[in-house]
């Protein structure tokens, strides 16, 4: 209660002016990685996708994993602001500006990767002018661009004093928008009736839970880094709240993953694809059990929840593992879902020159990796740059006992 009262006091925001060489160095490295990402995209577009690991079986490769990771992370990063504005948790309100900024930057980074991996990125204007409203992709184009507008307005209500009365309304609109957005992103796969690994409505809530978990983890990392590199105070109260929230969200994600797989294990028709993901011993099996479940969920939840781990390094490790888990999940869903062959004739074995009936092979190429990393670098670069020129970050987030 005492801390709540204290938090309701006016929060002083400042641009990040305190910086050493490390801040500029990090910005320079991020700019370089972003530039390399652009060069990789140019290389792939100039030559054509034959220089990638993608093929006519695995049509969406590593860039899509990065792009969708960033897009759902964007939606999740807004979670911190929503908790403050929509649910009235005053402790979270000082964190709102950075939350919105990070959400917008992550989304732009993800969309950049998505667009640069198109076969014809030069036709972006076509995508913005020809709409097939039955396509969930079209809906997502509108949802993604709309998200930038809605969150932008939400941010303005936080910055312009006279608009402050609209913060809750704008925050609620952004909260609803991001729910619909992640539902749309999950439905990209949920609506694919042809493939046994997809075609499941639960992918939408699964993506929502994963987005909240990944977004919160990224938010914690960025917050800790900014405060550490600028020598500002970041209290344990704030971080304890965030890490516990992240633990709950990670468990929620695991719950949806469990329901998804257990439901499919009950359906004989889906035993093949479930066996392929869960027990076949392929790269997807390792990514699922080791990357997604063990390292990506159970270990970070223990790190976040156990009283044995109290330091910032355990939070950093936990957040990085959550990110690893989210990335593993998307790799398994996106690539694994394509790798398992489609059922052309029920109950029959099929073979052809077009790899019917075979597990599709895919080895990500370096340019694909560089494009994806470029998107991540851009998102972080944009965030760190904007906090230098606009007052997004509270001067102090010290515990009340210290403040």
């Amino acid at each position: 209660m005492e801390s709540k009262m204290a938090m309701t006091k006016k929060t002083a925001y400042e641009t990040v002016s305190e910086h050493g060489l490390s801040y500029w160095l990090v910005l320079a490295v991020l700019a370089a990685v972003t530039g390399i990402g652009f060069l990789a995209a140019y290389y792939m577009e100039h030559n054509g996708h034959y220089v990638t690991g993608m093929n006519n079986q695995i049509v969406w490769g590593l860039p899509h994993v990065f792009a969708i990771f960033l897009i759902i992370a964007a939606s999740g990063a807004l979670n911190v602001a929503s908790v403050g504005s929509v649910f009235g948790k005053v402790e979270y309100k000082p964190l709102g500006r950075l939350s919105g900024l990070l959400a917008m930057c992550l989304l732009v980074g993800g969309l950049g990767v998505l667009v640069l991996d198109l076969g014809r990125p030069d036709r972006l204007i076509t995508a913005m002018t020809y709409f097939n409203m039955k396509s969930i992709f079209t809906w997502n184009i509108l949802l993604y661009t709309g998200f930038l507008g809605v969150v932008g307005l939400y941010m303005m209500t936080m910055f312009i004093k006279s608009w402050g009365q609209y913060t809750k309304a704008a925050g609620t609109a952004a909260f609803i928008w991001r729910f619909v957005l992640t539902t749309g992103t999950g439905s990209i796969f949920g609506f694919l009736v042809a493939r046994q690994g997809y075609d499941a409505a639960i992918l939408a809530p699964l993506f929502i839970a994963a987005s909240l978990s990944i977004g919160t983890a990224i938010y914690m990392l960025v917050l800790m880094w900014i405060y550490k590199s600028t020598g500002r105070d970041l209290g344990d109260e704030v971080m304890t709240r965030l890490k516990r929230l992240n633990a709950v969200l990670a468990v929620a994600t695991l719950f949806f993953v469990a329901v998804y797989h257990l439901t499919n294990l009950y359906i004989t028709q889906h035993h093949g694809v479930q066996g392929f993901i869960l027990v076949s011993g392929s790269v997807y099996t390792y990514l699922f059990w080791l990357g997604q479940v063990l390292l990506g969920t159970l270990v970070p939840v223990a790190l976040f929840w156990s009283p044995s781990f109290t330091g910032r390094s355990s939070i950093t490790a936990g957040a990085l593992l959550i990110i690893l888990g989210g990335f593993s999940m998307l790799y398994v869903v996106i690539i694994g879902g394509q790798a398992y062959p489609m059922d052309l004739i029920s109950g029959m074995q099929v073979t052809s020159s077009f790899y019917d009936g075979e597990i599709a092979r895919y080895t990500p190429s370096l340019p694909e990796l560089l494009l994806g990393l470029g998107g991540v670098a851009f998102a972080v670069l944009a965030t760190l740059f904007v906090v230098k020129v606009l007052p997004f970050v509270p001067q102090s987030l010290a515990d009340q006992s210290e403040a």
Binding site: E45, N47, G48, H49, Y50, M54, N55, N56, Q57, V59, W60, L118, G119, R120, P121, R123, L124, T126, A127, Y130, F131, N132, K134, S135, I136, F137, T138, I141, I188, F191, L192, V193, A194, R195, Q338, M342, D343, L344, I345, S346, G347, M348, Q349, V350, T351, S352, S353, F354, Y355, D356, A360, R361
Partner: protein, 255 residues
Amino acid sequence: MSQVKVEFHQADLSKRKLLKAASLGGAALAVAPGIKLFQAAHAKPDGQPVTDKNRWGLLIDVNRCADGCNDCVDACQTENGWGSGSTDEQNSRDDQKAQWIRKVSVKDPQTRREFNMPVMCQHCENPPCQDVCPTGASFQREDGISMVDRHICIGCRYCMMACPYKARSFVHEALSDQRAHQPRGKGCVESCTLCAHRVDKGKIPACVESCQHGAMLFGDLNDPQSPISTKLASIPSRQLREDLKLNTGVRYTGI
């Protein structure tokens, strides 16, 4: 020019002779027992839109589709300028090269029965590729033929994710050796057009014309008197992935 449809039972008569004979003839002709030629829909005059009066489709008899025969695939490649029909796609790996039609070998693991069949775009009445395409580049003609508008395809490949038949290919490199009637291009998705350029001129698709075993029948599913419709009415036939209720234009018998 008259539209000619050739029944399954072609025996050993030259198809070209049959086509020529049919083009000279008028109404249905019975050339020999089991061999029938029909005059049906006329070629669409240039400048007139395609209408839903016709719905073009194929009937494939897997019992006649010969093991090791690749004539339909070869004919499609030559006609549409992909695979061996073009000098393009030299950089692409085998798993990156386009395949508009392929021969699929099928085996029932329980009964050990084996058969072959060509698989191409199934020209669904409710095509998932069209549903998911963000720009509307995946579209369907009024006569049921599914196509890609290469002018507005952005190369997102969502249609390839959605197609249950793996009927679509993405072009992984720049192309130069193309047919004038079948433009292809780097970064776009493509698939069987049911040889729309031939159908509009009153011809049958190249794959059907090339089949020496009488395994493929092309015709108008909307015309109850057409050979394909009468055949479909008299024999059992199946759609691939009929559980999806896409009402495919390509049907199979003998599965």
